[in-house]
């Protein structure tokens, strides 16, 4: 990239990919630093994926392991699918950040530490018995000790910043240094600093000076043997933006409402890691979006359902604990047969669990977490940018079938970012709310009347007639209703019919779901793989990358990823039947695996991880290798 700040280098190496992790105290600005490094990489044209990780506490005690906040970014000259298994470079702003992250760094990787932070007290506070910079415990890494605090304070002297204030800019020093190391221009970051801290000129100056000082340090200190360049990725032509899952999901809801010609109503209650969807939608009021920060989770979904009754697109956003509270209202929505989108950004459970960490723990709750026979369709997003399309699909199902729909995301997708090729807005699907305007039934005396539960033959959806429509006044409720008229009915035969109709209606959605896409290169030529890896949700990246790597080492493995969890795509049973072994990686103790075993009597095997962290590619790859070894051995024996 051309830049006035890029003097010629003595030694530049070109590398294919890089995984950097910035780690420091939660007050050290690591998320901002990571975001800016990411933005610069995106602008340069690299493919990337990010993984922020921060403590649940806003400011856990400084210098402790509990307070460490980190941001990992994977950038590459080729398309990548995950934020990387292990950092090749770790920037550790203090001993706690080093201790919490050093285990993950690849052998031979680089560790850049703020050596000023390694005094005796801080080293002890992090739980080290001896100074790791002195005791040889880091021998397998290349360690660069940089007195970042001192250099930052020194750099800020010309503007008269007090040392205590100047010190706060040390994250920008680190960013400047890493930017030099990987040939990132500083201008985008300087522009960002000027925008973000516009009201505080001294902070703009301090951060800019620290950033440049970091760059210059890299340039002049001769500490590093080489700097590196990651050539731009060859991405599909188009316009790209860098997007997190929560932002893409919020935009998808806006697009879905727009494509249905409905006004969007969000009833929500703040909860980690879903709150950013509320924040994003609250910013977009000019779309006519009404956002209500309700008194509790129950009111959030209740208000959304009330808005849907009035003809809006009712949406509620939450995470696990909120889902528990909303369950009764979701059951009401099942009974009322009104559109409603319930976004569950899953996090580690049970109870408060791990608020800031990811888990796919709510699939069975979404599937079964209501009393009575209360089927709800489920759509799950696979990647941060896929949250956009998944949200539109959830809206389509909710509106077309007059049903609550679960849209599952998780903490990993919510906060992770990736470049997204912007879709052509003109090609987005149109959704028809088909409001009923006329009576749909004739009373015995010939009077036209409206029957709220007289269903569409094709979809079994009931008519959506909204208040304000003359002649269609009707009452609906949670009590069982007479088929057709919707009057209260306790008739046993009618109840059986209604339970079955509700189930049939949801099952019938499968007719509008595209068949499951199978990735099995051998299938076309009749040499199908014997192992299928089946995933859903945020395991997409790790599975796809693991399958790619397995194939690169000569293994035959097929892959498929579910977006619709209820109902399943109609060909899922056939696909599963084609494989000797089905592996289902999930960040839970085995939820999809139970569903497919129950539905298809397939002896699927789970690969399960519940550490509040996504799968590493290597973990899935190892499982594939382990499963294929006996299969391959038996094949060879037969041959």
């Amino acid at each position: 990239m051309s830049s006035t700040m890029n003097p010629p280098r003595d030694s530049v190496s070109s590398i294919g990919s890089l995984v950097v992790r910035f780690a420091g105290d939660s007050g050290d600005g690591m998320q901002v630093t990571g975001d800016q490094f990411t933005a610069a990489s995106a602008l340069f044209g690299n493919d990337l994926a990010t993984f922020p990780s921060y403590p649940a506490e806003i400011r856990a005690p400084a210098g402790t392991l509990a307070g460490v906040s980190a941001f990992q970014v994977h950038i590459a000259d080729h398309d990548i699918l995950t934020p990387g298994d292990a950092p090749t470079v770790l920037i550790a702003m203090n001993p706690a950040a080093l201790r919490a992250n050093v285990e993950d760094v690849v052998t031979g990787g680089s560790i850049i530490v703020n050596s000023d932070a390694f005094d005796e007290r801080a080293v002890a506070k992090a739980g080290y018995v001896s100074d790791p910079l002195r005791d040889g415990s880091l021998a397998q890494f290349r360690v660069y000790e940089v007195p970042m605090t001192t250099l930052t304070v020194e750099a800020c002297k010309p503007i008269g910043a007090k040392p205590r204030d100047a010190e706060r800019s040390k994250n920008f020093f680190a960013l400047g240094l890493v930017s030099w190391l990987y040939h990132h221009a500083l201008e985008p970051t300087i522009e960002f600093v000027e925008r973000r801290y516009a009201a505080r000129p001294l902070v703009v100056q301090a951060n800019t000076l620290a950033l440049r000082a970091g760059w210059n340090f890299g340039e002049t200190a001769e500490l590093f043997e080489s700097s590196y360049e990651i050539p731009p990725t060859t991405l599909e032509p188009g316009t790209y933006t860098n997007v997190t899952g929560n932002t893409a999901l919020a935009w998808g809801l806006i697009a879905g409402a727009h494509q249905a010609g409905l006004s969007l109503f969000l009833g929500s209650y703040p909860i980690t890691p879903a709150s950013d969807i509320l924040h994003e939608l609250a910013k977009q009021k000019h779309f006519g979006i009404r956002t209500l920060q309700a008194e509790d989770e129950i009111a959030g979904v209740g208000a959304a359902l009330g808005a849907s009754f009035g003809g809006a697109l009712g949406v509620t956003t939450t995470s696990g604990p909120g889902i528990d509270l909303k369950s009764e209202t979701i059951g009401l929505a099942v009974s009322l047969e009104l559109p409603l989108v319930i976004v569950d950004v899953q996090r580690g459970g049970p109870s408060t669990g791990l608020p800031t960490k990811t888990e796919q723990g709510d699939l069975l709750h979404a599937m079964y977490g209501r009393h009575g026979e209360a089927p709800v369709p489920i759509v799950a997003a696979s990647t941060p940018s896929h949250c956009f399309a998944a949200a539109i699909e959830a809206v389509r199902i909710a509106v077309t079938y007059r049903t609550p729909v679960y849209l599952l995301s998780d903490g990993y997708l919510a906060n992770g970012a990736e470049p997204w090729r912007l879709p052509d807005v003109a090609t987005l699907p149109t959704i028809d709310p088909a409001f009923r305007r006329e009576p749909n039934h004739t009373a015995p005396d010939g009077t036209p009347e409206f029957w709220p539960y007289l269903r569409d033959d094709e979809t079994l959806a009931r008519p959506w007639a909204i208040p304000g429509t003359p002649g269609l006044e009707h009452r609906i409720g949670g009590i069982e209703k007479q088929d057709g008229s919707g009057d209260v009915s306790y008739d046993p035969g009618n109840h059986a019919l209604m339970v079955r109709l509700r189930a049939e209606r949801i099952a019938g959605i499968a007719r509008t779901i595209p068949p499951l896409e199978l990735d099995d290169p051998g299938a076309a030529t009749g040499s199908r793989a014997r192992l299928l890896v089946l995933g859903w949700g945020s395991t997409y990246g790790a599975i796809a990358a693991a399958v790619r790597r397995s194939r690169a080492r000569g293994l035959e493995v097929a892959r498929a990823h579910l977006v619709h969890l209820n109902p399943f795509p109609s060909n899922l049973g056939e696909v599963l039947a084609e494989y000797d072994t089905v592996l289902v990686p999930e960040t839970n103790l085995g939820q999809l695996v139970k569903l497919v075993r129950a539905a298809f009597l397939v002896d699927a095997i789970g690969l399960n991880k519940v550490e509040g962290r996504p799968f590493r590619v290597s973990e899935v790859e190892q499982a594939i290798v382990d499963l294929l070894a006996p299969l391959t051995a038996s094949k060879e024996a037969i041959a």
Partner: protein
């Protein structure tokens, strides 16, 4: 396609003349014979034709309980929802459809026990809804357990040795929750009910009306001492805006604000008319309304009825729409294409 509000407001179209019959649904009313709910239903069905609103623009939302069956008996739009949640559901409906006339029908258990949180927040936000709380001081639908308004020591199936709870005073709760309209009426006086409900309906914002209602099966005669025909004159204290608060035969008794900042009931002859407290429902400070709500310790002492408080405050839905209009003025209408490009973008190829 553009995003539109799903409204079909009739605007200034005159509303066709209707009668009570037009507002009754074809469903058989299934409350116990003799239940106070019948007279409330009649009062509402008689009132609605007089309000100048169209049936199609009227919605009744309820939770669970005997009172919650109310929407089924109205020929309007209606939703019989789940226990306690009607104010939350009505909030979403009223905010997204400011053109509608939204009523919430609730009971003492529904509104003050399981749904207490939604009630207080709907009131503080001043959502444009009219909340009718039928207070019979008992759980009827579940067959006779004590409620959050039952008197201390109440012997019921769930409290065979007497309840230990201090009851809620519904009007004190509503006033404490920043309600802009608070009133009380009772099921034995249709005229008073209709007048009070009309005021509640006409109020912009959240209106809360406690209707003392007799449950003749599980708590018969709970309000007889104050609402019984023979007792009313002595025991009900009518509140009239701008008038001295007095009651009893020939207005012989009145309410006086003492120097000790306490309200007390005195003989008008002794205290003098000028000493009586003049009712001001529009007083911005809610303290006097709060004190009036606590004049009686229960339905065995002289009890004020009528409008306690009616102050003007913008309805929540109106504020929401004004904010949207302001943001639109500043940013222009929402544009999906522009939204997707609102962060940094780059082009490949």
């Amino acid at each position: 396609m553009t995003t539109t509000d799903a409204t079909t407001a009739t605007g200034d179209t005159p509303v066709a003349l209707t009668t009570r019959k037009d507002w009754a649904s074809d469903q058989e009313v299934r409350w116990c014979p003799g239940c106070g709910d019948y007279s409330i239903l009649a009062a509402v069905q008689l009132l609605l034709p007089e309000l100048g609103v169209a049936r199609e623009n009227t919605v009744f939302v309820s939770g669970i309980g005997c009172a919650a069956r109310f929407p089924y008996y109205m020929s309007t739009y209606g939703m019989h929802s789940i226990h306690g949640r009607a104010p939350a559901i009505a909030t979403g409906l009223a905010i997204s459809r400011p053109d509608l006339d939204v009523w919430v029908v609730s009971g003492d258990g529904d509104a003050l026990s399981i749904g207490g949180n939604h009630l207080i927040h709907a009131l503080r936000r001043n959502v444009d809804i009219t909340i009718l709380m039928f207070n019979n001081q008992i759980y009827g639908l579940t067959k006779g357990q004590y409620s959050p308004t039952s008197e201390h020591g109440k012997v019921t199936k769930s409290t065979p040795f007497g309840s230990l709870d201090t009851p809620f005073n519904p009007l004190s709760v509503a006033i404490g929750a920043e309600a802009s309209f608070v009133a009380r009426t009772h099921d034995m006086d249709r005229k008073h009910m209709m007048a009070t409900l009309r005021r509640a309906h006409d109020h912009k914002g959240a209106a809360f009306v406690e209707i003392l209602q007799n449950c003749n099966v599980f708590n018969d005669g709970a309000f007889e001492a104050i609402t019984g025909k023979a007792n009313r004159e002595q025991m009900l204290v009518p509140l009239e805006h701008g008038e001295p608060i007095r009651f009893g035969p020939d207005g012989s008794k009145g309410v006086v604000l003492g120097a000790d900042a306490q309200l007390r009931i005195e003989d008008v002859d002794a205290a003098g008319v000028d000493a009586l407290l003049v009712h001001d429902e529009q007083r911005s400070d809610p303290s006097l309304a709060f004190m009036l709500s606590r004049l009686a310790r229960g339905p065995f002492e002289p009890t004020p009825i009528g409008v306690f408080r009616a102050v003007e405050r913008p309805a929540y839905g109106q504020l929401v729409d004004e904010q949207i209009a302001q943001v639109r003025e500043r940013k222009g209408p929402g544009d999906l294409e522009a939204l997707l490009r609102s962060a940094t973008t780059w082009t490949v190829g």
